[in-house]
């Protein structure tokens, strides 16, 4: 190793935490007892490149054990995986949920992102910090969107040590958080949340496809899932054969729901055709776009559907290994999926001979650790490989060289769950849902100043107005001021845009994006300038720093907005707005990945569509 941490030693607990992930050390060369008489002559390694991908799980184990990644713990992890400490430190510091400084045994990450901010999160954080005082205010951490916007303000509570646990809750208040912070017994919600995250599931349930089992099945029961039609689509897939499945997928014209709208069938076919082996298929469950929570609803309430559709994808693309990469802030969805994977293995729906049909498919769940960028597919690959989640240049595209340099298919949770519908209905019948260019059902995440926030399923083609009405319209009968469509990487629209049909083609024509299905509603009382500033801060914080246009551009964008809002412009207001426009253009043109390319979108639309700053500096 190049750099050493000579004085840092792991505690017994830290050693045990790492060993729990990797198994006991087998050699003095990799952290075990030195046995030089045997090992001074021969060492079998390959450790470095075979196990490097275990770095994130090991760091998670250390973080959960000690509340931080201590130099001693890091050193032991490095010895076990033969990763240079400097590099492992680079990884540990990349992810927001890992701390390389000591933290209290209990911390609360309070979301202060857009929806929670509208719901008063900033005041809540201030109250909490005052209550705890300067000694203990380090128990309160500000977090970007936790993906629980329908129950804002939300929080993620973490306990480290013997009874390590993560709990996500919402809405939170002083009363809810106080017992936790003072280490008093607390009956906390675990497992699934109440179903009101999908309000339609409480109603007539008419026409629900993606949400058909949400609130109906017991998400922890494989038998219940099967009693509700589970694993029939996989059976159908095996009947069709690999090529048959891909044909149905292409007939269905299913476009990816993660934001890029790439035809899923085309992607699957490209992976299937690669001669290099092995192939991988990844379920992108790193749902981190502010305002997005639909995938969480699916994973928490219908986890087997995620597994079944991933298995179908693996089957069709000739992949024997699948990963589900889930964001670290989703403890409930994580535990539901963990349980589902275990049961699927036990009943032969995963493993070396799936359903007795003679094909193998393994699924491994990997947790992210607080990095928005890891939703970008190539960053996600790097993260699975145990590296900093920095995006790669494309080409080569993932279908040729994805995770571990092998052909890789990747779809997000919602896209995959659509596959069940494609196979159940048949590709052509599926394509008749929605519009010719935007087939199938679609989930939208309504949050902010709306009467009944939650994940809604509609067919492509309904208008924004109709969707808003389904959710009961603007809360408390107030007037609509703006809607953020597509998330932080999306753009603002005005009340004049309510007749926009929610399809790929209509949104494109209108110069907006559906993105990940975010529909965040702001009424007349919301201070939009500060919402825009929060979005700029979000991108500055989440930029991975790899490429200059984004690393520098996101900082400059936030600085300029701060000056404008404070009324301390350099030159005139129009000078500043022109500067912001130029910065945005550079980021759009020259950034490596979508984060930088889209980081100016919302800001730009706030300036030009909403004309937030037209009244002069706010």
């Amino acid at each position: 190793m190049d750099l050493v941490l000579p004085d840092a030693l792991p505690s017994d607990d830290e050693r045990a935490a790492v060993d729990a992930v990797l198994g006991p050390a087998t050699s003095g060369w990799s952290g075990g007892e030195r046995a030089i008489e045997f090992e001074g002559r021969v060492a079998r390694g390959g450790d470095a490149h075979d196990r490097r991908h275990q770095l994130l799980p090991v760091l998670h184990a250390l973080q959960a054990r000690a509340g931080w990644i201590s130099p001693g713990g890091l050193r032991y992890a490095c010895e076990r995986l033969t990763v240079p400490p400097a590099e492992a430190y680079g990884v540990a510091t990349f992810y927001a949920m890992f701390s390389t400084e000591e933290r209290p045994a209990r911390v609360v990450h309070v979301c202060d992102d857009i929806a929670c901010r509208v719901a008063g999160a900033v005041n809540l954080i201030g109250d909490l910090e005052r209550e705890l005082g300067p000694e203990r205010e380090n128990q309160i951490l500000r977090s970007p969107c936790l993906g629980m916007c329908e129950r804002a303000p939300a929080a993620l509570m973490q306990t480290f040590g013997d009874d390590a646990s993560d709990t996500a809750m919402g809405p939170v208040s002083m009363e809810v958080l106080d017992p936790f912070l003072h280490s008093r017994p607390l009956t906390m919600m675990t497992g699934a949340e109440p179903v009101d995250a999908a309000p339609q599931a409480l109603g007539a349930r008419e026409g629900l496809r993606l949400l058909r089992r949400v609130g109906v099945v017991d998400p922890s029961s494989l038998d219940d899932y099967r009693a509700h039609g589970g694993y029939e689509a996989l059976r159908r897939a095996v009947e069709l054969g690999q090529e048959g499945v891909i044909r149905e997928m292409k007939d269905a014209k299913l476009l990816g729901r993660g934001g890029a709208a790439f035809p899923a069938g085309v992607k699957w076919e490209a992976v299937a055709k690669q001669s290099v082996r092995p192939h991988y298929f990844i379920c992108n469950a790193d749902e981190s776009e502010p305002g997005t929570f639909k995938d969480r609803v699916l994973m928490e309430h219908d986890p087997f559907a995620v597994l079944e559709s991933l298995t179908i994808a693996g089957y069709a693309t000739g992949s024997e290994k699948g990963f589900i990469y889930i964001r670290g802030e989703y403890p409930n969805a994580t535990s539901m999926l963990e349980g589902a994977i275990e049961k699927a293995y036990a009943h032969g729906f995963l493993g070396s001979d799936v359903m007795g049909e003679g094909f193998a498919f393994d699924v491994e769940l990997r947790r992210g650790a607080g990095a928005y960028i890891c939703g970008e597919e190539t960053s996600l690959f790097n993260s699975i490989e145990g590296k900093r989640g920095e995006p790669r240049n494309k080409p080569p595209f993932p279908v040729e060289r994805g995770v571990f340099g092998k052909p890789t298919g990747i779809n997000n949770v919602e896209t995959l769950v659509n596959v069940l519908e494609v196979l159940t209905l048949g590709g052509e019948a599926y394509a008749r849902i929605g519009t010719p260019d935007s087939t199938g059902p679609r989930l939208f995440c309504l949050s902010g100043c709306v009467e009944r926030p939650g994940a809604y399923e509609v067919e492509h083609g309904v208008t924004l107005r109709e969707l808003l009405e389904m959710a009961g319209g603007v809360r408390d009968g107030k007037a609509l001021k703006a809607i953020l469509l597509g998330g932080a990487a999306g753009s603002f629209v005005t009340p004049d845009d309510l007749d926009l049909r929610l399809t790929f083609e209509d949104s494109k024509a209108a110069g907006v994006t559906l993105g990940s299905g975010v529909v965040m509603v702001f009424d007349e009382e919301v201070d939009l300038a500060h919402i825009v500033l929060r979005i700029a801060a979000f991108f500055r914080d989440e930029s991975c720093g790899q490429c200059v246009p984004c690393r520098v551009g996101t900082v400059r964008q936030e600085e300029a907005l701060t000056r404008v809002i404070a009324g301390r412009t350099n030159g005139s207001l129009s000078d500043e707005l022109a500067l912001i426009g130029e910065i945005g253009q550079v980021m759009r043109d020259a950034s490596i990945c979508g984060l930088g390319q889209l980081a100016a979108n919302a800001v730009d639309s706030a300036i030009h569509r909403l004309k937030v700053f037209d009244g002069g500096a706010a």
Binding site: R41, R44, A48, G405
Partner: protein, 545 residues
């Protein structure tokens, strides 16, 4: 064996091979750029075997590390050869078609049983078998070596023994299979290619046995070639000792620090009538010079070409004027020629290069324009339609006997342990090498800071440190049959008991070469820097740590 000194493979082949062997090479620290290609190979699925007495940072990346006894390389390769032969893994077609003297070689290795191999190398018999089988069975395999092979008294035999393995398994002359010495500087290869070796004209043309090449040289240059090999560095020092050599012109070398048994070397340099040194830095040798010629930096201050380990000739361009009176090497040499009665006029790098192309057939097709357009060209490049050569010796695989050309000979390689024997008086094996952030005698790297650098140390295993009762940073006395010095201890878990390690990066602090033995290989002139016998003594009872 093959007629020209150069790695047979290109870097890209290392990325696409199935088995990479680093033998006597800590490439991760000493050839970090090349190691990037190794890492890509590993990422693409290649297995890595590292043969090195020390468990180096390169060895940490290996699938299999063999910690052999220093200087037992021939024993290991001979035992591997026998295993390959008795297991029926010899590439019969290749051996029959393209090699000669196989029978003599086979007979010479047949008593190298795995057990004897284990005895001589310290590597368990079954591990030798595993390595031999893996190498012979690999579809494609690359052996790469550096000074761990060549800084021995039997350096040439070490190299030949590795070539034997390549011939035996047919791992040469094909894409992804080859035999590669890694060069220590960006242009060591180019120095040899240009004829800066005592027995070759430019382009590896033999001075004594290639009248055609000599005639070509005479025609182009207008002077006769004296058809006699010159002296290598070791022979020069012997000649100084015998009084046969009284003037020395040293360009960019620092023998007063880098020679083994450096005390003797300095004495001989001091006795010269004339010592001329041409260098960028005031090296130890430069301080002894009668005439000092300030040179310019090859990377930034002069135009020309360099040739890397994959035989790729590349253009170098001047971006800075040299400071003060420092001059380009070509200018200095031309001025010297003028004073000696040969006025070459104004010599440009390009004119010198074009003259070389007339003398050296393997460079003939490399015009400056083509070097620029193609991003460098790998020799041989016979004419301007030739694209250069990705890997050497592909001819050995030709169906047509005429195209196949001369056969490659096996060599009988007897095992000779290191000269400096281990005894009760000198029980520890000292081996030397380099670290990532320093280069040779430190002339080029001493001016830069590095967070890794700790100055010179003697590295030893924790077990030896315990036995001697010494701790990290404690200064100890190290003594060999030639000399004695004091140096701080660095405990290194990568060493086993009995094996200690030093560098020669800090001659002003610790003159490591006072300890090393100047037993040299008569065939290559290289000294056995890698194997000295030493003892270590604790200096005081007051532990300073």
């Amino acid at each position: 064996v093959f007629g020209a000194g150069g790695g047979t493979s290109s870097y890209e082949e290392v990325e696409h091979t199935d088995l990479i062997v680093l033998w006597g090479s800590n490439a991760r620290e000493t050839h970090p750029i090349f190691f990037h290609h190794v890492l890509k190979g590993i990422r693409n699925g290649a297995k890595l075997v590292v043969v090195d007495p020390r468990r180096t940072t390169s060895a940490e990346w290996a699938d299999l590390w063999l910690g052999i006894d220093v200087g037992s390389d021939v024993a290991l390769s001979n035992a591997m050869a026998r295993e390959i032969i008795v297991s029926g893994l010899v590439n019969e077609t290749f051996v029959k078609r393209a090699t000669m003297r196989f029978k003599a070689y086979r007979d010479s290795v047949m008593d190298w049983t795995l057990e004897r191999g284990e005895q001589a190398t310290g590597i368990p018999a079954e591990v030798i078998r595993e390595f031999a089988q893996a190498y012979a069975k690999a579809d494609r395999a690359e052996i790469c070596w550096t000074l761990g092979i060549t800084e021995h008294h039997n350096a040439v035999d070490n190299v030949l023994s590795l070539i034997n393995l390549g011939l035996l398994s047919g791992h040469v002359g094909r894409y992804g299979s080859g035999l590669n010495p890694l060069r220590g500087q960006n242009n060591v290869q180019g120095g040899g290619d240009m004829g800066a070796i005592p027995n070759k004209l430019p382009g590896f043309q033999d001075i004594e046995n290639d009248p055609e090449a000599c005639a070509r040289y005479e025609e182009v240059c207008g002077v006769a070639v004296i058809p006699r090999y010159g002296k290598n560095l070791t022979q020069m020092f012997d000649a100084m000792e015998h009084g046969d050599l009284s003037a020395l012109y040293v360009i960019g070398e620092n023998p007063a620090s880098s020679e083994a048994d450096v005390g003797r070397a300095r004495k001989l340099l001091g006795n010269l009538d004339t010592l001329i040194v041409q260098d960028l830095f005031m090296t130890k040798t430069a301080t002894m010079a009668d005439v000092l010629l300030p040179a310019s930096n090859a990377a930034l201050e002069s135009d020309g070409t360099v040739t890397n380990s994959e035989r790729r000739v590349q253009r170098v361009r001047k971006v800075l004027e040299p400071p003060g009176n420092a001059k380009d090497d070509i200018w200095i040499i031309a001025q010297l020629a003028k004073r000696l009665g040969f006025d070459w006029g104004e010599v440009t790098p390009r004119a010198a290069w074009d003259e070389l192309r007339l003398i050296s057939p393997m460079h003939a097709g490399m015009t400056y324009e083509r070097l620029e357009a193609l991003g460098g060209i790998q020799w041989p490049c016979w004419d301007q339609d030739h694209e250069g050569t990705l890997f050497l010796h592909g001819r050995l695989w030709e169906e047509d006997k005429a195209k196949r050309g001369p056969k490659a000979p096996f060599s009988v390689t007897p095992f000779e342990p290191p000269v400096d024997e281990l005894t009760d008086e000198f029980p520890l094996r000292l081996t030397t090498g380099r670290r990532l952030d320093s280069y040779n005698t430190g002339v080029q790297t001493g001016g830069y800071t590095s967070p890794l650098r700790r100055g010179e140390t003697i590295d030893m295993s924790p077990e030896d440190a315990d036995r001697l009762g010494v701790v990290d940073d404690e200064v100890v006395r190290v003594t060999s049959r030639r000399g004695s010095l004091d140096v701080p201890v660095r405990v290194d878990r990568g060493l086993r008991p009995g094996l200690v390690f030093m560098t020669l990066h800090f001659p002003d602090q610790v003159d490591t070469n006072i300890l090393t033995i100047d037993a040299t290989d008569p065939k290559s002139g290289t000294a056995e820097f890698k194997a000295s016998a030493v003892r270590i003594e604790k200096i005081s009872e007051s532990v300073g740590a």
